[in-house]
Symmetry: C2
Subunit: 583 residues, 2 copies
């Protein structure tokens, strides 16, 4: 679009002889024998501009990141100065007019990808940080990803419906962000952790296909991959079953990957049951880009004389191992791995190195029989040079966690060049709370596969929940929901939620289920984590336009900030004396 | 998409002889000689289903809004029972299988457009209210409108960028909604009233074309057309001038109107200066669907002997009038109009009725000269039967407001069948605060047409702000922004904002302006008001999926609610004793 400031974008300036006006920023400035060269940057790219300060006096004063408007004639660059890496590398603009639209103060850091700048400074001057090519590309990728998600959902007949963000707080909402009401002083709204109950009510309302790029809030400890506010692609379908959700997910994530990365994901995505994921990869979000799978060695060591293994097996436990391959096998490295295994919850780590003659070198080799050693080598596919790592415990989940953790430490690729999406299905319905009770693994509105079996044997109940995993990161989760109030009541019973508690927490929602609720299922994908992986960025703050630090503060605006007493009084609240911030 | 619950949607069932499975809700149920007819409703429409209770025993128990799955064979309806108003009116489904997926409790109200239900009940059972055809259509229209907006912006090369919703509160943000921080107890985030400063910083960041469907929050008195949370299409362009914004607005609103209403808006939209809008229509959001324009009669009555007019003119004021046309002209009606004029700020209202012989009947006729009466008739184009209404005041804005208000009362169309969009441009930069100072008419980042003139003569300064008006409603507003820190400082000076105050309020933003800020301009459209007009709904609560009442409460969830003391303590706040809600 032409404006009064420009007739063309920098990257479109390629026709020699044309007269154009461009506008943008001074990215670089070089003086060559009385002539000044600048690289002019705009949102499309770069253009070399040549200015004669004898004619255009202002050119002498140009500095980095000045915002300028330049017009002139496009001409071929002199031979030997063509830049083949640039769309406009064959031309330059011979300036006949220059207007400095605005000057720039001295920059706090250079606008270049390769400059390493403290993250706090980058966030404080985010508007400069976002000028860096990689960050500008991340912003575009995020925008593009969301646009593609919406396009796919629209094409599939989903209706985008906005759910409220000032909602009711629930008594267990200990992590709710609260908003004091001015009109009803002493009362509070909560910001939503997800649109879960509203989207289920949209199914009751007959919407049938709902989606939304929903802003959600969770006031938890900040980790590198979490933010207090975050966006998710949230969707739900009525008269839907699990596979309808999974197919929709494949459609959406494939389209995004295609457009953002130019890569076609192989479909259908693998589906691993939770049990299989735990057994083979020691994780409910397995990274399948590399092998090093966990092997159950319990049969191999049945009746072993090696106490460390035998004792675990006698307690009903397990012995498992991985073949870590030809890693460094010095004693100090093995000691470090043992330490790491203990951090991960192991009592110890058994390691063995396969020597050139196929014998096993290990401090514990002497406790194993020849059959055991042979069986071990076969089970782990051992060849000379390989390092074998084993753990045993009465609890299989401990062993899975230890070996799953070591596996990632030793094998996880350093970049996201390869993309390995998969679904984990058939999660346990409940997790033990530790005091004999049960907590919902997913959330209490998730349908168990078998309601009666769930009520009688909660420990072994499988739920209709599923996760989408990409390169070892959980991108999101969903489930087939309970749509029968009787089944819902039974789940509350197992969870130890009384009728009265259920009523006070979600009575308004349970009331809705009574009016002809259709079967339904849905999902939510965390957008930032997905885009971060596609852009091969290690943390989602690289993807979010204006993120907060790990303690939830914003170096750009200074938020959160103290607020005047009078302003709080209008909202009916005050700050507790022990919580006064330093002014 | 076929699922395990259905092979087709109701509206797609038209092929006689086909075997299909459908799923949906029982909209109506009729018993006819042992055979049961139901209208099955799903998101696509209706299908008549015929069930034989002798074969399908469950059919006897079907009640309104039960959720069912039915399969059977499609057959032609018997002659004489065809419904030409229904896509599926020629067929019916002869059921061979019936599954009740879920039953329904007795409905609090009927699921029909024509039933008049208390709004509180409708909001409490919003999931049932949204099943009504008109509400379902509103939901779809809103979804569609937003999708079209996004498509147009994407096509125009805009980047959708998400700005944060937990931001810094500003000292003047008396209407900010606040969110206490758990990590920095005693400190607060604010929810944004608009993404204004962030979008301007995106211009500094070089984004050049930004848009967002932004959730905004304003904690003000609730009126029929305001909600505490609302969505706006927010956009901004760098190297942009006013007309770039107005053309983009025409493009977006025309596309939405085309797709939601099937109507092509005539372009370009009329542009009225603020002064012209006030002079001709007595409003800065004129409804131009009807005439009854205001006429300046000051010349006609220059030197009049009629004191009510003469006094105002001597004080430098004005006499203006409208021709209200052939309205009822009884004395009681005229008295009522005079009362209304006084409510609108007039000292009085002069009315005259044009008799059949073209003489003027009025209590004040005797004070006017023959020339004045003739001049008046010519100026107002009076013909027999017309009622002429006049007001005079030392303040022209009072007269404009009075006549503009009467004009709407007398002429405003009762529906939005006709659509009359227009732009109001050239707003005054400032409004007097009443104590000799100035307040920004738009906001303090709006560029004045002439910075020096603004500094010297604020009363007559024109700003580069503009509004989009549709059928007398302001759909949104925008402006060319100040991009020069020096000009920004001058505006603050006129507004009486000291350097220190400016620094403490928006220092982080002003810092950003120092790094080569491009010229930029933008706009925000209120989505709900726009869609409400297109759907001819009188209030935006008909358009918003889950709205709040005028006091900000949600009858569905009960929010806002009291929160336990322990939960507040974790956030470092407590409720003031005088603000305790009733439990």
């Amino acid at each position: 679009m032409k404006t009064i400031y420009r007739t063309a974008h920098a990257a479109d300036v390629t026709s020699i002889g044309e007269t154009v006006a461009v506008a943008g920023w001074v990215q670089a400035r070089r003086d060559h024998g009385g002539v000044i060269f600048i690289d002019l940057r705009d949102s499309s790219g770069l253009l070399q501009v040549v200015l004669d300060p004898a004619v255009l006096g202002e050119a002498k004063d140009l500095r980095m990141e000045f915002c300028v408007m330049v017009s002139g004639e496009v001409r071929a660059r002199p031979e030997g100065t063509v830049n083949p890496n640039l769309a406009t590398g064959g031309v330059e603009l011979g300036a006949t007019a220059l207007t400095v639209l605005s000057t720039s103060a001295v920059l706090p850091f250079q606008i270049e990808d390769r400059v390493d700048v403290d993250e706090r400074a980058r966030l404080k001057y985010r508007y400069l940080d976002l000028r860096r090519p990689k960050m500008a590309a991340n912003l575009k990728a995020r925008s593009r990803a969301i646009a593609v998600m919406r396009r796919v959902m629209d094409d599939l007949g989903f209706l985008e419906v906005e759910t409220p963000t000032l909602i009711a707080s629930t008594p267990e909402g200990a992590r709710d962000l609260l908003v004091p009401s001015r009109h009803q002083k002493g009362s509070f709204y909560a910001l939503p952790q997800s649109p879960q109950l509203f989207k289920q009510l949209l199914m009751v309302a007959g919407v049938e296909r709902y989606y939304q790029v929903a802003k959600c809030y969770r006031d938890e400890d900040f980790r590198s991959d979490r933010q207090v506010e975050f966006a998710q692609l949230d969707f739900e379908g009525a008269f839907w079953d699990r596979d309808d959700v999974l197919e929709t997910l494949e459609e959406v994530t494939s389209a995004v990957t295609r457009e953002v990365r130019g890569v076609e994901l192989s479909r259908p995505f693998p589906r691993l049951t939770w049990q299989e994921a735990m057994d083979r990869f020691g994780s409910d979000k397995p990274d399948t880009r590399f092998g090093m799978e966990i092997v159950d060695l319990s049969e191999t060591f049945a009746g072993t004389g090696f106490r460390a293994f035998g004792a675990s097996l006698e307690e009903g436990g397990t012995v498992r191992g991985i073949n870590a391959g030809a890693i460094e096998s010095t004693r100090s490295r093995m000691d470090a791995l043992t330490e790491r295994a203990k951090e991960l919850g192991a009592k110890g780590l058994v390691w063995m190195v396969v020597e050139d003659d196929a014998t096993l070198r290990s401090p514990v080799a002497k406790f194993l029989s020849g059959d055991e050693m042979e069986g071990l080598k076969v089970a782990l596919g051992a060849t000379p040079g390989d390092v074998l790592l084993m753990a045993a415990d009465a609890e299989w989940r401990t062993v899975a966690g230890v070996l799953g953790g070591l596996r990632l430490d030793l094998g996880k690729p350093g970049s996201h060049d390869e993309l390995a999406p998969l679904f984990v299905i058939d999660f346990p319905t409940f997790e033990p709370t530790g005091d004999g009770g049960w907590a919902a693994s997913h959330h209490p509105f998730t349908a168990p596969v078998d309601v009666d079996q769930m009520a009688n044997d909660p420990a072994n109940s499988i739920s209709r929940a599923y996760d989408l995993v990409l390169n070892g990161s959980e991108l999101g989760s969903g489930s087939v929901r309970i749509f029968d109030p009787v089944a819902q009541a039974k789940v509350f019973e197992v969870l130890g939620i009384s009728k009265e508690q259920a009523e006070s927490r979600f009575g308004w929602f349970l009331e809705g289920l009574r009016y002809g609720t259709p079967p339904h299922a849905g999902f939510a994908i965390g957008i930032d984590r997905f885009v971060a992986i596609l852009q091969d960025e290690p943390n989602i703050r690289q993807i979010i336009p204006f993120p907060k630090t790990q303690t939830g503060s914003d170096p750009l605006t200074g938020s959160p900030t103290p607020v005047e007493e009078t302003q709080l009084a209008e909202l009916g609240i005050r700050v507790r004396p022990d919580a006064k911030p330093e002014a």
